[in-house]
Symmetry: C2
Subunit: 195 residues, 2 copies
Amino acid sequence: MDILCLDLEGVLVPEIWQAVARDTGIDALNKTTRDIPVYDELMRMRLAVLARHDLRLPTIQGVIAGLEPLPGAVDFVAWARERFQLVVLSDTFYDFAMPLMAKLGYPVLLCHRLVVEGGRIVDYRLRQADPKRHAVRAFHAMNYRVLAAGDSFNDLGMLEEADLGIFFNAPAGVLAAHPDITSVTGYAELQTALT
Amino acid sequence: MDILCLDLEGVLVPEIWQAVARDTGIDALNKTTRDIPVYDELMRMRLAVLARHDLRLPTIQGVIAGLEPLPGAVDFVAWARERFQLVVLSDTFYDFAMPLMAKLGYPVLLCHRLVVEGGRIVDYRLRQADPKRHAVRAFHAMNYRVLAAGDSFNDLGMLEEADLGIFFNAPAGVLAAHPDITSVTGYAELQTALT
């Protein structure tokens, strides 16, 4: 019995910030870790944009409430839970993701927290630096073999640290930068790669 | 968002070995870590009894297939998953527990493995020594606050290491030996203690 670590956005659910960008028409919020690999740089930009537009947490949560898991994700999660101990490792925030986790049947989610004052998102708290790599290390410290799948630069620590790390639906730029990492497209291919 | 670590048998599902004892009429299998706190001593006794009676894994799995979560456990798990990241820490075996995990909606289960040859349970593999304490340490290493509840001696490492450790429906002998640890009876009291 192995641990399976999955990224959330782009793997099981849509990119949350891009959904907010689409709903609000604020194009700067379309950028992800695929565009700006340094996470803090990306988040500082996002927080500044939210402040400039006075876009508050309840509005963003309203956008997220309308999102659904990616097509096939619910079935894939059910498949994975029968075969692995499933842990979702994400750089999102509990304040955003919990309604989506409900739609996935509440797999364990390890992510971060926002700092919210009067509905305004004023800061964020990373649980720790390089959190996905540290999570895989922690499961290794419990003597588990760890499999992992993600789609972007912020998954590299997890994919490198895991016993088997797989890019899932990763964009060409990410794949080109890391040709050594196995890459699959779609849940059927991921299932084959995991078994 | 905290991690909640729960023991399995006696907390969410019935004691599996006691169910096997009842079904087979083999009284020696009624003993638990409440009776024999040294786990390896308990397991060696169980394996010897299984060999003596030629009681094989498929027969035991048949008994387990007929078990249900404890009354209220499914609702408690649903409540817990909305509020915590839930991890079940158990000294059972994946070979036994997975059908029960299905009935609980597949929360993450960290436990052990049996060594099975031709249906005969010939040995067992602890994932690591003091596994529940090490699991709490691993979540601490990920900068989580950890709450924990269990009912017996093998939960002590987890309850001591956690930021809040609670005895749940523990027998008098266990409570008397550890009067310093908070104790509750029933899921309603556990919910209150956790919030």
